[in-house]
Amino acid sequence: MEFGIGAYAVLATTIFGIGALGFVVRRNFLVQLMSVELMLNAVNLLFIAFNRIYVEQHGGQSFAFVVIAVAAAEAALGLAIAIAYHRIHRSVETDLADRLRH
């Protein structure tokens, strides 16, 4: 049994979907953040898989590297916001934040 790049793409899409689903249905700040990480990982997998087709350069792998670096920055900032959020609500349940409305 052989698996082409299509299989990787299907896998990446599945992971992306799971991440998106998690983001939409969960209300825990940290789990939502982890869902976003899942989505970013799916993107990385896609980049690296597609790079396997275009072997004469490393554009996809470079992009994946950048995504990992930026994801690190994003996670750090996000966790700082999560802590600030926790200080106010004593919880990380994001549905508690609904003070801002018409």
Binding site: G4, A7, L11, T14, L21, V25, H58, A76, L79, A82
Partner: protein
Amino acid sequence: MTGSAGSWLFLVAASLAVACALGTVLSRNTLRSAMFLLGHLGSLAMLYLTLHAELLAAIQLLVYAGAILVLFVFVIMLIGPSGGEPPPFRNAFPRTFAATFVATLGLAVLGLVGRTAMEVPSAPEGFGGVEAVGFALFRDAAVPFELIAVTLTVAALGVVGITRGKTAVEAAGEAKRPEAE
């Protein structure tokens, strides 16, 4: 990496990745979610290996699993694992809707990508290795690489600003009007 070994590795890693992703999303305990995420990251690193991306696989483990995830765990420990969140699929509407969404996305992309017959050329010598990717990053992609430094600086500044000790003014009380509930 082709052949049956690669196929087996792909199947195992892919199943593991999907299972761990589901575990991350569905666990009610945040710490368990983080552990599932760790598993997921590891299985992705395995997949990267099957794609000749050795350096990226290493970075995945070092940066993602080693740094980002540790940060997560640290924060979870700091604020205590949460409980009490209602089960994610209690509501009819998001359930219906999310299912529709994933189904739409899945159908579209699965059918399409699976259909796309893309030839996989054989990887040249050193593809995905430290040297090749290093050259790509430091020579060809020097501009983006340098710009990442700014992004990281911004994140650091933000984190410092948000978390550092109270200023004297904050202790004395804040602007009155905006807080008036």
